[in-house]
């Protein structure tokens, strides 16, 4: 028991008496963890940007003016029953005319020519939003059925096709890129942490030899270093949290206005707090313990 207390005493003593070395080691650990969190933030912002753009894409299906409302409603019901479809909005002939007039209220010639027509020249329309951008071609395939196609005057999918393809392409590339960058970042972070701990222990190599020659067991020598590794892990995660949260608070309004979405980064971090910081803490402690153990083992062979 007294031996455990002594190990704790030596660990805390060494941490504070080597203040600058502890400070530098801690800074490196915090920078590595902060980089990982930056990557998480970037990943979430990129995903939400893509989702925001995807949400803005839809197909406008314009019906011929003579098609009665009940038939349009039938098509609407049919589309809503498709698993690929998230939402279908109905715009009546009257609404379409009002919207048209509103859009051209500053153009008296167009308004005058509309007045000369005896009936509403515009047809009803449906705005179809898919669950996923890759589903649009399938939805269009269903609409190509002559049963529906004969009622339709035009579909604006062609306008969006290029955008949809680009978005799908970007989504895929961002996902692959994020995984690759995350992997590289993690490996670099691990190597930096590993090296920082090894360097810190290297400065103690003469002390370790002296302790060994005084009859200290390996555990008695390694214990404080391992404990210090855990302490470094704990402190670095606390400092990272203290830095990351204000940063999220600072960039959140920009994300909201830039992407025009209700995506909340702060909520995301709050909801996944244990998962994100718990895993980072576990990773930091494990790598600290392994590097401490390995580094000290090199010098206790006296």
């Amino acid at each position: 028991m007294s031996s455990i207390l002594r190990v704790i005493k030596f660990a805390t003593q060494d941490f504070f008496r080597n203040f600058w070395l502890s400070f530098v080691t801690l800074t490196i650990l915090v920078l590595a963890l902060f980089s990982i969190n930056l990557l998480i933030i970037f990943n979430m912002v990129a995903k939400s940007a893509i989702t925001a753009i995807e949400n803005k894409i839809n197909i406008n299906v314009y019906f011929k003016p003579e098609i009665p409302e009940d038939q349009v409603q039938t098509v609407k019901n049919y589309l809503q029953s498709l698993i690929q479809v998230r939402e279908v909005a109905y715009i009546s002939k009257e609404q379409a005319l009002d919207d048209f007039k509103n859009r051209h209220k500053d153009n008296p010639k167009i308004l005058a020519s509309l007045d000369e027509l005896s009936k509403n020249p515009l047809g009803a329309s449906l705005i179809v939003t898919a669950k996923n951008t890759s589903e649009y071609p399938k939805i269009l395939e269903y609409l190509a059925d002559p049963q529906y196609n004969n009622m339709i005057e035009s579909k604006n999918f062609d306008d969006h096709q290029l955008v949809i393809e680009r978005i799908s392409d970007i989504t895929q590339k961002v996902n692959t890129g994020v995984i690759a960058v995350a992997l590289i970042f993690t490996i670099i972070s691990l190597l930096i942490i590993f090296n920082a701990i090894r360097m810190a222990i290297y400065t103690h190599k003469d002390d370790i030899t002296a302790m060994k020659l005084l009859g200290a067991t390996n555990w008695f020598i390694q214990g404080p270093f391992l404990l210090e590794g855990v302490l470094f892990g704990l402190l670095s995660i606390i400092i990272t949290i203290i830095i990351v949260y204000p940063l999220i608070g600072f960039i959140q309004p920009y994300i909201g206005s830039l992407l025009q979405t209700d995506f909340n980064l702060l909520n995301y971090f709050n909801q996944n707090f244990v998962m994100i910081f718990g895993l980072e803490l576990l990773g930091a402690i494990v790598i600290n313990l392994l590097s401490s153990y390995w580094a000290v083992s090199k010098y206790v062979k006296v």
């Binding site: 007294s2 003593q13 002296a210 302790m211 060994k212 005084l214 009859g215």
Partner: protein, 226 residues
């Protein structure tokens, strides 16, 4: 107390550091092992502290045959011997008190006893007023006295001193040797490794002269003559 029987030490690939050494040191003896650099003096100390293993022969320390000592037994052996080094080997980030206490802490001795014994030992070596100083805050002679206090604090039967005055001026050298003599008077066996002729000749104690890894003379009240 210490018995070396036909000890040889060969460093890879063919460097012979010690050859057929037979040495018997009795309890409470003060023995100086002398010789030029590379004669094998420090190798004997390293074999006695299990830093090195003899290539041939038997090593017995305090009745314990350590020839084939196991790794886990090495700390136990070292806790029974006090060692003083030329480069002191004090822990730089511990105070004088903590450095001396560390030798007792590794033995699992209680804090109460440590707080009682350490000041007494530091008083013996003349450092009772410098308990809270760090090694860099005291002189070379004081550092070596602190190292001697650390080597003595757990009351070893044997004190090995490997060139303890190598980094000290003549005044501090005299102090350290006087201290070693005082410790010897209390009944501790002292093995002093040195190449300082003046020290050895002043001591008038047993002198073992090494040359090229072999004992060339072993005399009671001997002198260091090249």
């Amino acid at each position: 107390m210490i018995h070396l029987k036909k000890i040889s030490k060969i460093f890879y690939p063919k460097t012979v550091a010690l050859k057929d050494i037979n040495l018997h040191i009795r309890p409470k003896e003060f023995v100086s092992i002398v010789g030029q650099s590379g004669a094998g003096k420090s190798t004997i100390i390293k074999i006695l502290t299990a830093e090195e293993k003899a290539t041939h022969g038997d090593v017995i320390v305090g009745g314990w045959d350590i020839t084939d000592i196991k790794r886990r037994e090495v700390p136990v052996l070292r806790r029974q011997i006090g060692v003083v080094y030329q480069d002191f080997k004090l822990l730089p980030r511990k105070t004088v008190f903590e450095n001396v206490a560390f030798a007792m802490e590794v033995c699992g001795i209680s804090n109460k006893r440590i707080n009682n014994v350490v000041p007494q030992v530091l008083k013996i070596v003349g450092l009772k007023d410098k308990l809270d100083r760090y090694p860099h805050q005291i002189s070379g002679g004081e550092i070596q006295r602190a190292a001697i206090a650390r080597a003595l604090v757990h009351r070893p039967k044997i004190l090995l001193a490997d060139e303890p005055t190598g980094n000290l001026d003549s005044l501090n050298t005299k102090d350290i040797i006087d201290l070693l003599l005082k410790i010897n008077e209390f009944g501790t066996t002292i093995v002093l490794v040195t190449h300082n002729k003046d020290i050895v000749n002043r001591l008038k104690k047993r002198v073992v002269l090494l040359d090229n890894g072999q004992i060339v003379s072993d005399e009671e009240e001997g002198k260091y003559i090249l």
